[in-house]
């Protein structure tokens, strides 16, 4: 699954996610579809989130919306919200994977509970970075 989240100069966030699902899937399975609220979410009042991983667990945990809701209603920062959901709620259910997330203030998070995630990001100084493994 691939995805992107962004914040533009007008202060608007957006999220996009695309996937082929899981190998050998049957029965019209849409468990890995980036459902709005599970795998994809964007709201200028909270954050933009795109997820990758074991999709049916992301649906059960409503991962993307849960992260945004924690920011909006509880006032926690994006790092804390991602930690609570990806390493808490999702992992408790047995779900593996990760998210990328951006807040309207520019805070950028790349959070995953697997040994790696293909990822890239722009830092606050404008430099672009790429990484694969958790220790990268």
């Amino acid at each position: 699954t691939v995805g992107a989240v962004a914040l533009d100069r007008d202060g608007h966030v957006a999220a996009a996610t695309s996937t082929g699902g899981i190998t050998n899937k049957r029965y019209g399975r849409v468990g890995d579809t980036p459902l709005i609220g599970a795998g994809t979410w964007a709201d200028d009042r909270s954050a933009a989130i795109s997820a990758t991983g074991h999709g049916e667990y992301f649906i059960r945990a409503a991962v993307a919306h849960d992260i945004a809701a924690r920011c909006r209603y509880l006032g926690v920062n994006l790092h804390e919200a991602c930690q609570q959901v990806v390493h808490g709620e999702l992992k408790t259910l047995g779900g593996q994977g990760g998210v990328i997330a951006i807040a309207p203030d520019g805070e950028t998070q790349l959070s995953f509970n697997t040994p790696g995630m293909y990822r890239a990001w722009r830092d606050r100084d404008g430099r672009l970075h790429t990484a694969i493994h958790s220790e990268d």
Partner: protein
């Protein structure tokens, strides 16, 4: 006053431990990731919208056979490809999504078309294909998404017998 810009992308997660990919393959992945984020970054730097930026990044990733989306999408049990995508605009919470589409070259373009040119939030399967056929977007035959790597992974999965076990700890080495 203008906002700071920010951008991040992902290309899948899983047991991506050092040594799983050759150094050459890892370099290819890094280059592909850089190409994808650069596409969106350029738009943001020039004052473009976050919506255009995320779409541009995902199109680049869909065109790269390393990632499970667009070209290089995994095979279904029936030996074809079903593509899913979603996009959301934080300005107004508009959304568009497709699932089980088979012919749209860049599924994220299809999701955006659903958002901007239909009154719906999500279209699936043949209905999505029919809608997308009317949208003046590039279409391809379903086998355009094939790659030798994905075919090999699919055949290995089939030889193991039975459906994919979706319980924790039994997933593929890399998924998402």
């Amino acid at each position: 006053m203008t906002s700071p810009i920010a951008l991040a992308i992902h290309g899948g997660a899983g047991v991506l431990t050092p040594g799983l990919l050759s150094e050459s393959d890892e370099n290819d992945v890094h280059e592909a990731l850089l190409r994808a984020i650069t596409a969106g970054h350029r738009i943001l730097e020039e004052g473009g919208s976050s919506l255009d930026a995320v779409e541009a990044c995902v199109i680049e990733l869909e065109e790269c056979p390393w990632f499970n989306a667009g070209k290089g999408a995994v095979f279904t049990h029936d030996g074809d490809h079903e593509l899913d995508a979603a996009i959301m605009d934080g300005t107004n919470c508009n959304v568009g999504a497709i699932a089980g589409a088979r012919y749209i070259r860049n599924p994220i373009r299809g999701a955006r078309a659903v958002m901007e040119k239909s009154e719906h939030a999500m279209l699936i399967s043949q209905g999505a294909d029919r809608f997308l056929a009317d949208q003046q977007l590039p279409l391809v035959s379903n086998d355009w998404f094939d790659t030798p790597l994905r075919r090999r992974q699919w055949q290995e999965q089939k030889q193991q017998g039975g459906p994919v076990n979706l319980e924790p700890g039994h997933t593929e080495k890399k998924f998402g």
